[in-house]
């Protein structure tokens, strides 16, 4: 019987070798790969995200945990089916037009991936019409936008307006973030959610689009 808590705990403790050992053991025991992924690794990353939110863990540790998790996922990949992650959300994420900052946005994308969501990271300087096009193409149900400058924050509103105009607003949730972005601003521009850090972003994404 695989002890999923042990996998989670070992991941949270950043013991990469231990995690790989436990994943291999679980596979040998015949535990379904989807369970090892969802109840072990993804559940472990959820804890990491929470700890990050509470400032019990910091970015370098979160990166190390994510790296460890992806090593575990590599072992499971050949055994996983198409539909084996519990989170079903499809996320479009990018930094708005005129803004080239990507460090925070990439952390958010990484945490969402680790949470089991399918993430399409478009990069930086993304125009409203490109966001709209990608929502359609990827059939996404969550749009995440980042802006790090007070001068580019209005572009979030313009992007939301473009989504409304395209008729896609009803099928997609919208989350915004970035250093100058506040809950008040998110409310004003008609976003569904605001996340102050990567840990809470992944949690909220799963809650509203998972």
């Amino acid at each position: 019987m695989t002890d999923f808590n042990k996998i989670q705990e070992t991941l949270v403790n950043l013991d990469a070798e231990g995690v790989i050992q436990l994943v291999n053991d679980a596979v040998k025991e015949g535990t379904p790969a989807s369970d090892i992924l969802n109840k072990g690794l993804i559940a472990g990353m959820d804890i990491v995200g929470e700890k990050m939110e509470n400032e019990d863990m910091f970015i370098p540790e979160v990166l190390m945990a994510a790296q460890t998790m992806s090593q575990g996922v590599e072992i499971l990949k050949p055994l996983l089916g198409e539909d084996d992650t519990s989170a079903k959300g499809s996320v479009i994420i990018g930094t708005v037009k005129g803004d080239l900052h990507d460090i925070g946005k990439n952390l958010v994308a990484m945490m969402m991936e680790s949470a089991g969501l399918t993430v399409h990271n478009l990069g930086v300087d993304i125009a409203p019409e490109e966001f709209v096009k990608q929502i359609k193409e990827k059939n996404a149900n969550l749009l995440c936008m980042s802006a790090l400058l007070t001068t580019t924050m209005p572009m979030m509103k313009q992007t939301i307006d473009a989504v409304v105009e395209s008729g896609l607003r009803d099928q997609i949730k919208i989350m915004v973030g970035g250093a100058p972005v506040t809950q008040g601003f998110a409310d004003d521009i008609g976003a569904d959610a605001m996340a102050p850090d990567a840990g809470s972003a992944a949690k909220k994404a799963k809650a509203i689009a998972g």
């Binding site: 400032e55 910091f58 970015i59 370098p60 990166l63 005129g98 080239l100 900052h101 990507d102 460090i103 952390l107 930086v124 300087d125 007070t150 001068t151 924050m153 209005p154 100058p180």
Partner: protein, 266 residues
């Protein structure tokens, strides 16, 4: 001598924004005086946070600050129209924050700078984003220096910001900037190096010790200016102490003065 650009008059700070909204001149004057007493060499003025109000906010801030300080100001806006207005309002040649190699920014700022008596902060940013290596920073810095010199700016008026990036996401980001700064200073000894430092500690706890220690390393590499909070007495003490250790404080006079006035404590 290290030059401190005081960053506090920025409407993205809640108290400053409130003061601007309420036209509370007293608060702004008091803050500027405190920065001056703490050793600031320039006062940065950024009125960008209240979207749609930048022009009136900048005008009010400059009218408020102008009469009470003899210090040069650092006019902080991406909008040349606002900078043009602000430039006309200040008594002393200001510092302008900033130009970069991003095409829109560059193309609008170059005509503004031509023929102006000012100092300029030049960010090593281009349309590809943040620099990814030392060479990248050096190349961008050199391009900025060459372009600015070509419109008549003196090297001594150019302040290159190499763009410090978080060490938390990549442990080589400290060395990357330090190496670049050494090289830029070697090729252009008259050019200044400035910038914010707090990005280095993004995502880590106890950020101030990281910022201070990095500042010391950056000063050794050739950084001779920074955009910081002059009321952070520990970072100001680190600057004075490092200035002394690097040989620019004869007979340790400034250091001792700092200790006697209680500004420097171990």
């Amino acid at each position: 001598m290290f030059e401190v650009i005081g960053e506090r008059i920025n409407t993205s700070r809640k108290k400053v924004q409130a003061a601007v909204e309420e036209k509370n001149a007293e608060y702004i004057i008091d803050d500027v005086k405190k920065q001056q007493e703490a050793g600031a060499n320039f006062i940065d003025v950024n009125a960008g946070a209240r979207i749609g109000h930048e022009k009136e906010d900048m005008e009010w801030l400059l009218n408020t600050i102008g009469p009470i300080t003899s210090m040069p100001l650092c006019l902080d806006s991406p909008d040349p129209a606002i900078l043009e207005m602000a430039y006309e309002m200040v008594e002393q040649a200001p510092m302008i924050n900033s130009i970069s190699l991003e095409k829109d920014r560059f193309d609008t700022m170059m005509p503004f700078l031509k023929g102006k008596d000012c100092k300029i902060i030049a960010l090593c940013m281009d349309d590809k984003g943040m620099p990814v290596s030392s060479d990248d920073i050096i190349e961008r810095a050199q391009k900025l220096i060459n372009e600015l010199e070509a419109v008549g700016m003196k090297q001594d008026d150019i302040y290159i910001d190499p763009l410090v990036q978080p060490i938390s996401t990549d442990s080589t980001k400290g060395i990357m900037v330090l190496d670049a700064v050494r090289q830029i200073k070697k090729q252009n000894p008259q050019v200044h190096i400035t910038g914010g430092l707090s990005n280095i500690s993004y995502g880590l706890p106890e950020r101030k010790i990281i910022n201070r220690t990095f500042l010391t390393l950056m000063m050794d590499a050739g950084m001779d200016s920074a955009i910081i909070d002059p009321l952070d007495s520990k970072i100001m003490a680190a600057i004075k102490t490092t200035d002394m250790l690097l040989g620019s404080d004869n007979f340790c006079m400034e250091y001792l003065k700092g200790v006697r006035s209680n500004m420097i404590k171990s």
